[in-house]
Structures are given as C-alpha cells and as structure tokens.
C-alpha cells in the first residue's frame, strides 16, 4: 500500500472537506472527469454515487482511475493518485449519509429510484504537489 506523504495527509482528513476529481475511461477509451465527495476507511478512499451513472458503468468495465484531491484553500496543493476502484452496493445506503455528514453535517437526501453504489479505491501510486 502506498504512503501518502505526511505533508499532505491533511487533505484526506474529514475536517479539510477536500474535493476529489475522478478520471475514468469511457468505453471508447476517452477520459471522463467528475468532482466527488469522498471519505476514508483506513488507507482506502471511498466514494458514493448512483448506480446509474456514466462513471459507474465506466469503472465497472475498466476499474483503472486517476484521482486528484486538492486543498480547498490552495488549489496548487494537491494529491494525485492512480489505482483501481471496486464497486459495491454493500453498505452503500448507509455510507452516503456518512459522506454527506462530512461535507454538510446532514444526512444525504437519496432520490427514490436512484440506488447508491460505493466505490472503494486502493491507491497504487500517489504523488504530492505544492
């Protein structure tokens, strides 16, 4: 498991409320990029989104992703990760509330007919910038 440099570990703390940009590959190989909330489970980065999303279909077909997590106070300072995502519905409905509470202090308002999925990301490479 890769080590996140101590200088940038704060970016992963809940208190920082940093955002993550997640790059996935479309079926034709072109890149797709979205912004997501995340939280941590040990050294794994967890995301939560809808099952019926382009990014979900993309990572289920090709689990390789790139992630940038930047300092909300200074976008020149960020962590860059490469690795793979595993998707699971196990606990996804509870997990979305945990992530929502990190950013808003409140539970998430799940839309009916929009089942949740949890992404578990294990970094294979990490670089710190700024």
């Amino acid at each position: 498991m890769v080590e996140v440099p101590e200088s940038h570990q704060d970016l992963l703390d809940d208190e920082t409320k940093a955002f993550a940009y997640l790059a996935t590959s479309m079926p034709d190989g072109s890149p797709q990029l979205t912004c997501l909330w995340f939280n941590m489970d040990g050294d794994k980065i967890l995301f939560n989104t809808g099952k019926e999303r382009v990014k979900t279909r993309n990572v289920q077909k090709d689990p390789r992703v790139a992630i940038a997590i930047y300092d909300p106070e200074n976008p020149y300072r960020y962590l860059q990760f490469r690795g793979e995502i595993e998707t699971t519905t196990e606990d996804a409905d509870q997990h979305v509330h945990a992530v929502s509470r990190k950013y808003t202090g409140e539970d998430f308002e799940v839309r009916p007919g929009d089942p949740r999925v949890k992404y578990v990301f294990k970094p294979e490479h990490v670089f710190a910038w700024g």
Binding site: A23, S25, P31, D62, A68, P75
Partner: protein, 131 residues
Amino acid sequence: MLDKIPASHRDLLADETKAFAFVGTTMPDGSPQVTPVWFNTEDGYILINSAKGRVKDENLRARPEIALAIMDFKRPYHYLQIRGHVVAIDEQQGAAHIHTLSHKYRGEDYSIPKGQIRVVYKIQVESFSVM
C-alpha cells in the same frame, strides 16, 4: 460549442474568475491521468499549456481526447464538465501563451526554466454538463 455554455456558468470561462481546470488525459495503456492546469479561451476554443515531454503532453500528442472540469475553487459546487479533443498543438506560441496565462492568474510573466519548451493545446469542446 463553447458558445452554448449557459449564462449561469459563463463566469467560469472569464479571465477575472481565475477558475482552474482539472484535465483528464489517457495514458498509453488506456488508463486515465488527471492534473490541474491554467487555461483561457480564444475564438470558441479552450487553450491549455504544458511543457514538451510531460506526461500530459505525450498523452495528448498520442491521443487527443480530453476531459476537463472547470471549477471556481471559491465555489466548488459550481463547475463545468467538458469532453472534447485537441485540434492543434503549437510549440511556437507556447512561450507567449504561458505568459498570457501567468498574467491571468498571477499578474506577471511566467518564469520558463532554461531549455523548457512550452506548448499550447487548442481544445474543441464536444459536450458539456453543468453543476
């Protein structure tokens, strides 16, 4: 296509906003790569700048497909998600362009390391969505 961006999100393209762009490119093995960059717009295209030989430079020369997320870090929930491709790669204008970007973001010229070749990538927007 850039002219179709709704009024609600045009601020992200304006120089005054100093919005950042996160850029996704594709590695030789087909996996994605993401980095933040400065950008500006000209004649309906998005222009970004990098240095010759960097990962994103090599990726874009080999595979012109690109994804961008343009965000105002002071308003992180307000952003533009773009997919498109690079239509021109220009080394001759690279140095002048990085100075232009440096003036947008920092109000001063960029300090180009000796021997570094700057490159401008002109991006045509094919699709976008707003948050």
